[in-house]
Amino acid sequence: MLQCIFLLSDAGEVMLEKQLSRHCVDRSICAWFWEQAISLGDSFKQQPVITSPTHYIFQVFRDGITFLGCTQVEMPPLMAIEFLCRVADVLNDYFGALKEDILKDNFVIVYELLDEMIDNGFPLTTEPSILREMITPPNMVNKALSIVTGSSSNVKDTLPRATASCIPWRTSEPKYSNNDVYVDLVEEMDAIINRDGGLLKCEIYGEVQVNSHISGLPDLTLSFKNPSILDDVRFHPCVRFRPWESHQILSFVPPDGQFKLMGYRVRKLMSTPIYVKPQLTSDGGTCRLSVLVGTRNDPGKTIDSVTVQFQLPPFIISADLTSNHGTVNILDKKTCIWSIGRIPKDKAPSMSGTLVIETGLERLHVFPSFQVGFRIMGVALSGLQIDKLDLKNVTYRFYKGFRALTRAGEFEIRS
């Protein structure tokens, strides 16, 4: 059980403190934490579980905000981390972004949320839809409304019925004039490609994201044409397990609004949509670099937002790189980004140039890894296809929308 939660800004300032148990955790722990973070640098900042002289600290870092959970007792670490992640997600969901000034603007809401999410160190509810029922998120419509009506409370008058219902994720029975359900397949491709072009590992982690606005208590079923390609799946609590087990059908009563219905993994994919061929030759104190990028197996849709990023090896003192398409930028810490955008039909983009190696070294011994980013709209590269979406329990008509997107996750080419 957590004893205290702190939110720290980018500058190490305590933005918010929420004591959860009778043991008051002194704020000085944040000062300790921040000193460590500064003196130890990135590797410390990334470490999720830290031991301070007095407490165990879990940290989750999101968009410049550090979420710290402190405890002195044994607890499942994943529970703490998972909870802090949920806090971050809920805040992000409420305020549209996680930013220091937005959080400071809304710190009362943050307190209210934390109050409902955790009591006495034990998480209660983190379902965004239920929280929304209890505490209204700040938005312009509400604000305008409150100016007109003169009431400006952001606390709903009634308690959500879900706290008493047996479907904890669905709050009340909303009413919509237009009923619609949108289903998105969002996939991320992780791949490692060897220096000789061989595909060492290629897999996809995908999510079925649903945005539902349906009146009443609908019962949905979603089925795929080829569920057998899925290696492993995980579900939102609303999904019934038996229909999936017997027929690979997703049967569920959806929460209202946006949620992740299912996550899945597809392993051992045989090809990638694009190729990136780096070539490095070094001799006599300089190194020639050329990188070619092109479409490999045309997915049928345009590939855009293509970027190639790599870290210049240490011992490189200068780099002169040009490309025939897109822009090349060298950022601080010797990171080089080549933004290609959309791959043109008529030519293969290439980047080339020379790197100057520190004097005294003839050849390069450390070769960079190239991280590739891309996005393909309209295609789920795993090949997963939605068969149909049906709605039971309701009489009205509703609109269904499907969409797919694949982007690069950890897509890495070694040289």
Binding site: Q46, P48, E74, P76, C85, K104, Y111, P168, Y205, F402
Partner: protein, 890 residues
Amino acid sequence: MREREDQSNQISPLQLLIRRKCIYLTFSEETKGRSNRVRGHSTQLSVAMAPPPPQSHRSPSPSQPSGKSEVSDLKSQLRQLAGSRAPGADDSKRDLFKKVISNMTIGIDVSSLFGEMVMCSATSDIVLKKMCYLYVGNYAKVNPDLALLTINFLQRDCKDEDPMIRGLALRSLCSLRVANLVEYLVGPLGSGLKDNNSYVRMVAVIGVLKLYHISASTCIDADFPATLKHLMLNDPDTQVVANCLSALQEIWTSESSTSEEAAREREMLLSKPIVYHLLNRIKEFSEWAQCLVLELVSNYIPSDNSEIFDIMNLLEDRLQHANGAVVLATVKLFLQLTLSMADVHQQVYERIKAPLLTQVSSGSPEQSYAVLSHLHLLVMRAPYIFSSDYKHFYCQYNEPSYVKKLKLEMLTAVANESNTYEIVTELCEYAANVDIPIARESIRAVGKIALQQYDVNAIVDRLLQFLEMEKDYVTSEALVLVKDLLRKYPQWSQDCIAVVGNISSKNVQEPKAKAALIWMLGEYSQDMHDAPYVLESLVENWDEEHSSEVRLHLLTAVMKCFFKRPPETKKALGAALAAGLADFHQDVHDRALFYYRLLQYNVSVAESVVNPPKQAVSVFADTQSSEIKDRIFDEFNSLSVVYQKPSYMFTDKEHRGTFEFADELGNLSITAESADSVVPAQQVEANDKDLLLSTSEKDEGREPGSNGSAYNAPSYNGSSATSQPLADLAFPSTGISGQAPASNLAIDDLLGLDFSVGTATTPSPPPLNLNPKAVLDPGTFQQKWHQLPISLSEEYSLSPQGIASLTTPHALLRHMQSHSIQCIASGGQSPNFKFFFFAQKAEAASMYLVECIINTSSAKSQIKVKADDQSSSPAFSTLFQSALSKFGLP
């Protein structure tokens, strides 16, 4: 299909524009200090801009109060509004409250406003109430008297018609945590537990727990635990049930130390009806409450296997849950349930593999790490199950290095015949990694795989390639590995030496690597034609070598080289010994002196000491004992796994103490080892020339010890076993002169060991050769003693000098030890002494066990010999007798 706008959680440009405008608006109003009304409505924005002027935002020390004036300003404003019932009053109040709370959040002490805040909180506005609760909760503890003020309005709110307000008020009331106010808690809590709204009941249950922590007796007296138990079994709302469970667990656990009934109740929580009651409803519980129930069930002991299968069937779908905490709790439960069923346990591993791997790839970096730590534990326990999934443990460039480190260890563990090639290829990629610590780790991983595999052909080639990579750290790590590899697979020496020979020692800087290189130069000097010259140049640079470890190795290597190629190494050896003798480091100095004396005495003896034939190491010691690994496994899904230590090692001080003690022992034995090579010059001479003198010296040195009872008591010593490794450099029996008894004895006393080397007179070469380093533990001795028949039983006479010297048993022990006869137990007092000795035939396993009773008044000794090899026992008896007869002779 319909293409839609990218609907991520971005704010639309329009919203942004409006928002910015608002900020601008409020800001300008704020600065001009105009109308209250507008400010009231755009509160969320104004707060950020308003409270403590600019420096508060990026202030380097946010805890610095920004001045008293602002607080007193707020105070007067609050006072004005306190009684106001004007239409806009609530909005202005809210504005002020926000300022107060934001000051509080920043760390400014606003407790002086307590009275005013409480006065203003008589309102129907729920946001105002919430802020006030927050404020009161924060300061009530320091202001118990003032807290009494709030009780009144909180109690009133507990009866509000809005359940939300009832709940909030109750929560705040319990969060005051002021001991002298507990009497006011019982009533509201009692009615809260009976409230018809589940939200209020849920809050009340946790309230009971809070009350318990403030005043346990009040809580028990009000009979709340029984009410909670009733609620747990009957409440329709699962969150209430879960809160009851968590509260009861805590209350009964802490009560059980004093009350038997509470202990019984705690056991009851684990009873079949309750566990089943909870399990049957598990899908209705929130994900966090599910974790709680799963944790509880993992302590439940099912009555039979079918029950286990029922539970697992019921919970199988929890493995597919989106919440990683639920998945991990389920995994723990499954593993615990099946511990006694080996085959099912294995199936559980197969079953949980995929969900865990999905968790790793889907979550945030923090979540992946926590899951990965657990996966690491499982992989280490059952690597073969994961051996086909090795690609999941490939490192990605962007991953933080602690994740990479875990992955490297897993890659090492899962390597088997079928995937070694791929894994080693992958690891070699990392050796060229930009991240140097990871590059090092991956080279070490290759080495570990090499040491755990049978077929190492390909790996050795890779390792040797590392040596040619011309990167300092790669070379260093590879050298250390090649050394270990040669210790295990001496047959590879030809290939390795050819490559190692090409490495210039100048390019190797790291002590460990340098020591490894020097070790190889010494060990294989006959195969490396320039070894003596490389060593010679290293010796020339003696003064520039800062690491004592390297200098020690250099000494030994030069010695070894000298034995193999004397003419070429003579010069280097002379220089090394001279430099060593002049070295300021005690160990180096002592080792040099020791070698010097040894060489002076007899070169061939020196060789058998410094460079005896070695056995290949079959298994290198593991760093973590399997017991510790089991402990960590038992604590699955806890911090122990992340720290890779069982919890007692980082939580319980008492236990930590014993470990420190163990460390101390380790250090002691190290000092003992180095002290072994201490041979103070004058002592050696004394021993050589005047044995009587030395004996008396020894007696002096021993005196403090012999007064101690422990020393006199018949000691079954396991010392021969433990002391043997310490005595690595000790003398063989063939009659080299003494040890440093004084220093040795001091250590012996400390360790309670009974190890010492006596001096020898001119021994006639015995027909039977004994192993000078025979080792036998007391248990085995006893066993053998019972098993073997007596092969000889004799009686000898002892010389008068011998009797004179036998004042304590220890004098004889030392004497016999110098004849390669070890004592395992001794005892008795003048005139009767009893000894148990043992000895081992050189280059053979056969042991001789002796019981020897000496009566000093009759100057007789009776011995009984038992032997593995009966035929040679007469020869041994002769030897024993000749050794005994020399006791006490000059």
